[in-house]
Amino acid sequence: MDILTSLMGGFLVALEPLNLGLAVLGVVVGLFVGAMPGLGSVNGVAILLPFTFVIQSMTGSATSPMIFLAAIYYGAMYGGAISSITLGIPGASTAVATTFDGRPLALKGQADRALVTAAVASFIGGTIANVLFTAFAPPLASVALKFGDPEIFALMLLAFATFVGLGGDDIPKTIFSICIGLVLATVGFDIVSGEPRLIFFDITGFSHGVRFLVLAIGVYGIGEMIWTVNSSRYGSTMSEVNVSFSRVLASIRKFHEAWKGTLIGSFLGFFVGILPAAGATPGSLMSYGVAKMTSRNPEEYGKGSVDGIAAPEAANNAASTGAMLPMMTLGIPGSPTTAVLLAGMVIWGLQPGPLLFTTQPDFVWPLIGSFYVSNIVALLVNLAFIPLFLWMLRMPFTILAPLIFVLSLVGTFAAYQNMFDVWLMVLVGIAAFFLRLLDYPLAPAVLAIVLGPIAEPKLRQSLLFSDGDFSIFFTRPIAGPITIIAIILILLPMFRLIRRKIRGNITT
């Protein structure tokens, strides 16, 4: 009851005209930043942090600036899906998994359905996460603390396992793709020892590593573009799109077909978001993997499954709320974006830490209230803009291809302000095209470059604890079961293969 009264009080503050206006503004800015390839919520929040001072000096409290930045965070989670679906370039790292099925569905002429599914799934994911946050923040924070290095590593192993154990795909090629991603993830300075690794040809550009967006934009922007050009040499691929609100409404009515992906994404995304060092990108990729694994029709994934769109989109929104949890209850960031938000809280004169809930209720509850409000605003704004986004799809590919090319270049440069990364991105794109010609799945490589930099230090820190003894991953109460499940999942396809062999022998 106590929580409900505090939350109601919070709603009242969040709905004050200024705060509501800031939430709308933040959502629109976030939508744009998220939709622009290369820019994500981190850039949006970091760039607009100084602007919040103006808001603070206007209102005299830290609540309004925080509501604004949190709205950008949410808006960006919605926005990322837009270019993933309409252009096939992930708008932000958090929306990479959305391209897997969003783009194919759009190419089938159902872009409106893909966009609506993404928006509604985002809303449900965000709202489920908000409810969980409101009800269980303190106990969940102590669960997050139980996750030490071996536990996080076990979880990362599980994430890889969901991608390997999917079945259907060519397992050796999937593993090869993961290995490419893992090797690229080790390029640059090593966190544990501080030594440079794999600085190819002594090019200093490699010293900061092969960045995630370089790979993602290369594969899905340039690589995909060359692929489409190649496969449409003798005809034009122009998606037929009818723009009307009645079609949008019809898509909303059909949303229930994606309920399973939405639920998986909401809960898994929220939980992964809570864990420090993870954040929304691994959360959405893992949810996609789990949704595909538990699906009755896994073969539909990658060809335009609505569950495959709903899972990562629900997850990235749920994870962004989840990442707020350690930030607000412990003063520890759960994602790069919350790290910037934390810096903001310090600048506004707050002391983040376990006492924030008790010492600053006037800050905490309106902010939680604004999470709900921003989510509703983001859904409405997004649905209203869908006809506009669809207009992009009506461009003939001869115009769209150069546009994708330019956006890929600009997006990569915007993300890292560095020409080396732009060239590398183009190279990656060309390589991705040839790998695809040879039927190599590329999503596992993208997953590996996200999870590799999280998993590797955790593996090494764990082994430092245990003096190199791998049993640390099996003997701890939380890490043990997770590791065992992960190993079973990795071995599962092998069992299937053996079973098929045996059956084959019997019939012949």
Binding site: A46, L145, F189, V192, S207, P336, V340, P354, D467
Partner: protein
């Protein structure tokens, strides 16, 4: 007459011109494009929060005609950032906020070809302090008890810190070699993560800066045992210094702003003035006292002399621990 008159006018004109132009020519530099503000650590850590606070003070008080744009380059204990500054294409618009890895990383990695004395001494904004922290459930409430328990547990006592051969590692090595301990040191990506590991009791102690552990100190989860400072910290009046406990050791982290090698003197003067104003602002002074930071503003040759002594000291420390030859 007329000629003389003209000469006189010319002379007066020249004198006036000189009088007007002299003071301005000293501070002639003005940034003409956004200033690249490099942070040699990741997002969310002490250095990052500090850099973003400086940025907001500059923004808020309208101190610079061009915006200051923070970029994090955390790779290789600052190596990525140092290499970036060393090769800066426009040194007059490239500055960096430093940690002590500014001293240690070039010493450990001579291959980077970084000479810190070539960096422009813009200003030292503070010296951060270190305390030894344990979890409240550890049952240790003084430095002597810590020594006894840590000795008994051997390498079962685990210290978490930020990176290898970092400030935290140096302090841990000092404790190990001077008190006969064999504490195991585990490097993490940042001070915030170390604090979280300690609160979750994944590790047994840390040497966090006050700003990193303050929230958990106020909630009572973490207890400071000893301060590695020369005098007791105003914020922790009950925590003795290591010197009081008989150890001859104190250790600080420089929180300074430096300019890229090759920065012109005019630009260096401009940035020194800029950060003097930041230092003198109420917001900075309040941050400094609330996060238990010490040290006064220092710039120019004083700062270079400070770097020289710090570099020599870190060379000794790293040699003693065997990190370098």
């Amino acid at each position: 007459m007329s000629i003389r008159k003209r000469t006189l006018f010319t002379m007066i004109g020249a004198a006036v011109l000189a009088a007007v132009s002299l003071p301005t020519s000293v501070a002639a530099f003005e940034p003409t494009k956004p200033i690249d503000f490099v942070i040699m650590a990741g997002k969310g850590g002490g250095a990052d929060k500090m850099a973003r606070l400086m940025q907001s003070i500059i923004e808020q008080e309208d101190l610079s005609a061009r915006p200051v744009v923070p970029t994090n380059k955390p790779g290789g204990s600052g190596a990525e950032a140092l290499v970036h500054l060393n090769g800066a294409s426009d040194p007059d618009h490239t500055i960096m906020v430093t940690l002590n890895s500014f001293f240690t990383t070039p010493l450990r990695q001579p291959g980077l070809d970084v000479d810190i004395m070539e960096f422009a001494p813009v200003g030292r904004m503070a010296e951060d302090t270190f305390l030894l922290w344990v979890h409240k459930d550890e049952g240790v409430s003084s430095f002597d008890e810590f020594l006894a328990v840590a000795k008994e547990r051997g390498d079962g006592w685990v210290m978490g810190g930020t990176g290898k051969n970092s400030e935290d590692n140096i302090i841990t090595d000092f404790l190990n070699s001077n008190y006969g301990l064999s504490i195991k040191y585990i490097p993490y990506a940042g001070g915030g993560e170390v604090a979280k590991q300690l609160v979750g009791q994944q590790i047994t102690s840390s040497v966090n800066n006050p700003s990193e552990a303050l929230g958990f100190f106020e909630s009572g989860d973490l207890i400071p045992l000893v301060a590695f400072t020369d005098e007791r910290l105003p914020m922790f009046p009950d925590v003795p210094t290591l010197k009081e406990s008989g150890g001859d050791f104190s250790y600080f982290m420089q929180r300074a702003v430096v300019g890229a090698p090759g920065m012109s003197d005019e630009a260096a003067t401009y940035y020194s003035d800029l950060f003097t104003k930041v230092y003198e602002s109420d917001a900075w002074q309040e941050y400094k006292s609330s996060k238990s930071l010490m040290g006064d503003f220092m710039a120019g040759d004083d700062l270079k002399a400070y770097w020289d002594t710090q570099r020599a000291r870190h060379e000794d420390i790293l040699k003693a621990s065997g990190a370098i030859n």
